[in-house]
């Protein structure tokens, strides 16, 4: 099965700075990678999907990169805001399943 690793340490950044979260995977290379946001007591919410032939994808203040050589995706939040504080999960597909990382907890300090 796919093994996915995300920053195990919580990430604290100052408001207005760029947050960068890492997702590393082993085994086979997926064709797609997804990022989700999860708030306490809530289910994950889909944010972005990137295909293996897309090196970078943007949505408003979010940017995702996908490096199939390094087997890594980076998730950036620019001009971060306290409302961006949440846990962010990456997910890869294998067969009929999605495999999720353990998530990175982000806190944006005003």
């Amino acid at each position: 099965s796919q093994k996915i690793e995300q920053n195990s340490e919580a990430l604290n950044i100052q408001e207005g700075k760029t947050a960068t979260l890492t997702c590393n995977y082993t085994n086979y290379s997926p064709a797609y990678l997804q990022w989700y946001r999860q708030d306490p007591g809530r289910g994950p919410v889909f944010l972005l999907l990137i295909r293996e032939n897309e090196k970078e994808k943007r949505k408003e203040r979010l940017k995702v990169t996908f490096d199939t050589t390094l087997k890594q995706s980076l998730f950036h939040i620019t001009a971060s805001q306290p409302a961006d504080s949440a846990t962010y999960l990456c997910a890869l597909a294998g067969g009929n399943q999605f495999y999720f990382g353990t998530g990175t907890s982000l806190t944006v300090i005003p």
Binding site: Y32, F46, A93, F98, T102
Partner: protein, 114 residues
């Protein structure tokens, strides 16, 4: 659209009891999934369904059962609850299957087995 609705939100079970976690979606999605989320462990797939009448095991199916008699509903049954089943359970759905179709999650059922 309500999206994915899970009931109950919280439940405490005694060891050996049984219960059914309910999941319903109103998006006409074909695929439905049950995950459990434990601290530091990420989401693990229990069972999934690609359509009414079709179910299959995920990574951690032991101690659980599912059925899919309609497109909308995908209940998860716990028989003989054990403390190891203490977790937060999430139901999700998607229009198409992996790898590209995003998942829509409910807000979870927090289950404690004592």
């Amino acid at each position: 659209n309500a999206g994915v609705t899970q009931t109950p939100k919280f439940r405490i079970l005694k060891i050996g009891q049984s219960m059914t976690l309910q999941c319903a979606q109103d998006m006409n999605h074909n695929y439905m999934y049950w995950y459990r989320q434990d601290p530091g462990m990420g989401l693990k797939l229990i069972y999934y369904s690609v359509g009414a009448g079709i179910t299959d095991k995920g990574e951690v199916p032991n101690g659980y059962n599912v059925s899919r008699s309609t497109t909308e509903d995908f209940p998860l049954r716990l028989e003989l609850a054990a403390p190891s089943q203490t977790s937060v359970y999430f139901c999700a759905s998607s229009y198409a299957g992996p790898p590209s179709s995003p998942l829509h999650f409910g807000n979870g059922t927090r289950l404690t087995v004592t």
